[in-house]
Amino acid sequence: MRAHALDLGRLLAVARKEALQLRRDPRSLALAFLLPLGLLLFFGYAINWDLKDLPIAVRDEDGTKASRELVDALEGSGFFRVVDRLESRAGIDDVLRHGRVRAVLLVPRGFSRDLAAGRRAPVQLLLDGSDANTAIIMMNYADAIVARWSQQVVLRGRELPGLATAVPRVWYNPTLASRNMIVPGLIAVIMSIIAAMLTALTIAREWERGTMEQLAATPVHRLEVVFGKLLPYVAIGCFDVFTTTVIGITLFAVPFRGSVLLLAAMTLLFLLGALGLGIFISAALKSQVLATQVALVATYLPALLLSGFIFDVGGMPAVLQAISRIVPARYYIAVTRGIFLKGVGIHVLWVQGLSMIIFAAVGIGAATAAFRKRIAA
């Protein structure tokens, strides 16, 4: 076979055509420019993993100054809010069952007497375990608050001599605001979805309209078609990452500590892979409707569930951890969080960079291969 060099003129002709078509397609424009903003605002405001003002009920059978002080200590922490004071133990089941409160504090009769006599004075915390994560966190919070309160009561203002204490200091996200973690991750999730959705249409549309055959009859090389089609979407993707980053910093006050240049370079790598995946799906399936659906399932679910965005990958079963290695969003999330929050550079993120280079090569290679197969059929 005669050597056939890639020709920039042909590549640009395809890119220009694609950009013109994109500009005239309101559906793609909305997908490209409005959806990322909508998703960022929606998730940015809706997702909040910080726990505070958790509604609890109190059944105080002791009814003394000490028992009231304990309840005040819980409420004063800011984590709990007493919304109900129960008349009898019979009501406990009812409030938990209806979900009006997440927990019930039961202070038994004789609490203050036992405390004063220096005996063990247990209080009971009944938790709604149907949301296990929240229940565990509430248990730990309540445990700590009650322990601190009882220490104060027993010591009555005196200092405790020589006890080892851990003094925690949180780096990178000192206030432990979940939003700081969500927004950079969200940019990665959004871009995964957008990238594959946008390109999923592009080749399938040409098959459905019969233009692909005409294109195939010209001297254009299939790599020129794939790259020509990628180009406008890469530009849109970069624009989207830029705007969502700016909104994250300004509106959601997320810190940005790393290098803009590094983020741009990594974004480019990620987009090439994610867009390549969309083109591959489009070339392989030939139908716009089918390609859109498959692209959504193939990108949205893994980006949401297997990327470390919500669930820590390290805590997953080995099989899911293995699958997560082929989810490009996983690497890009590590990049965005690393650059936004930790300000780390290429000496830390080169692993992610390399992974995304491999993914981009595989994605574009698969797209090009699928494209050739269809022409022959």
């Binding site: 056939h4 003129g9 002709a13 220009r16 078509q21 397609d25 005409q214 195939a216 010209t218």
Partner: protein
């Protein structure tokens, strides 16, 4: 001078279905060469193999001196191709479509300006560069598609049913363009299922179920038909067809406009018997005359000789 296209035993199978079956022919430079046959005859598959879009299962084809299987990529730069469906971008303007194909064919600079102007004039679309292609009438779209396919002035042009769905006037105008291109030395290979279009070709290939059933000039093909054909006029031609179903010596009856064409057996056929049979069935014959066979008659006769029936 060597042939522009040389095809030998070209075959294409899709699974167990043979779409094109050991087809051989040659096309001379500057010729308008037609492929005639019903849908499914293998015309499109043949053209796709000749343009390098589809690899042949067996056999060889040389186009412009290049082997279609080995040099498909180089081949595409030297030929123009217009696919069966209208296939320009409807959401691009006339000018943008021309520029896209100019870019794909590497036509640029002064040559682009010249060819662009030529294509617009040829398609009758001067001053309408900014019109959205989807809004053009089909006849204009087809001429624009032709313009895009020959922007790079290819020596060979492949047209796959270029005028299907276009009204007769626009079809005629399209053929004038084909003649112009051929006069300038372009070799044109065109498929059609319109019999009257086939008459415009210098030479024809009659295809049926993947095979060539005859090839030659239209006049020569008509001469292949030795059975006499009579055109009859009756008051109700469709019922007359039924009446002649079992008349001895009648090989074929077909409606031809308001008339009836009857093909007779050269030995046992007798126009008198046909007239009598129709009279008896209550369809008196108003006029009867012997006519020259059309290409359609030839096609049907050739298929009948092979013991087949025309389908599609």
């Amino acid at each position: 001078m060597s042939a522009a296209v040389a095809v030998r035993d070209l075959t294409r199978r899709f699974g167990s279905f043979t779409a094109v079956d050991r087809v051989s022919f040659e096309v001379a430079t500057g010729e308008i060469f037609g492929f005639l046959g019903p849908n499914g005859a293998g015309k499109t598959t043949t053209l796709k193999m000749l343009t390098g879009l589809l690899p042949p299962t067996a056999g060889t084809a040389t186009v412009a001196g290049l082997d279609v299987a080995r040099d498909a990529v180089a081949l595409r730069a030297r030929i123009g191709y217009m696919s069966q469906r209208f296939s320009l971008y409807g959401d691009l303007t006339v000018g943008e479509n021309l520029e896209l194909f100019a870019g794909l064919y590497g036509v640029q600079g002064e040559r682009l300006a010249h060819r662009r102007g030529w294509a617009l004039q040829m398609a009758g679309l001067q001053g309408q560069e900014d019109r959205m292609t989807a809004d053009l009438p089909l006849g204009w779209k087809q001429r624009l598609a032709l313009g895009c396919a020959v922007l790079h002035e290819p020596k060979l042009l492949f047209l796959d049913e270029p005028t299907s769905g276009v009204d007769p006037m626009a079809r005629r105008a399209f053929w004038d363009l084909i003649y112009e291109l051929a006069a300038e030395g372009t070799t044109v290979l065109v498929s059609t299922h319109y019999m009257e279009e086939a008459e415009y070709c210098h030479r024809l290939l009659l295809m049926h179920r993947g095979r060539i059933i005859a090839q030659g000039q239209p006049a020569a093909l008509r001469a292949l038909m030795t059975e006499p054909i009579y055109a009859l006029r009756t008051d109700h031609a469709p019922r007359a067809v039924e009446a002649l179903q079992h008349t001895e010596g009648v090989l074929e009856t077909a409606l031809f406009g308001r008339d009836l064409h009857v093909v007779l057996d050269p030995e046992h056929g007798d126009p008198e018997r046909v007239t009598a049979a129709l009279q008896a069935a209550g369809h008196p014959v108003r006029a009867i005359e012997r006519v020259e066979p059309s290409l359609e008659d030839v096609f049907v006769a050739l298929v009948r000789r092979e013991g087949g029936v025309v389908s599609g």
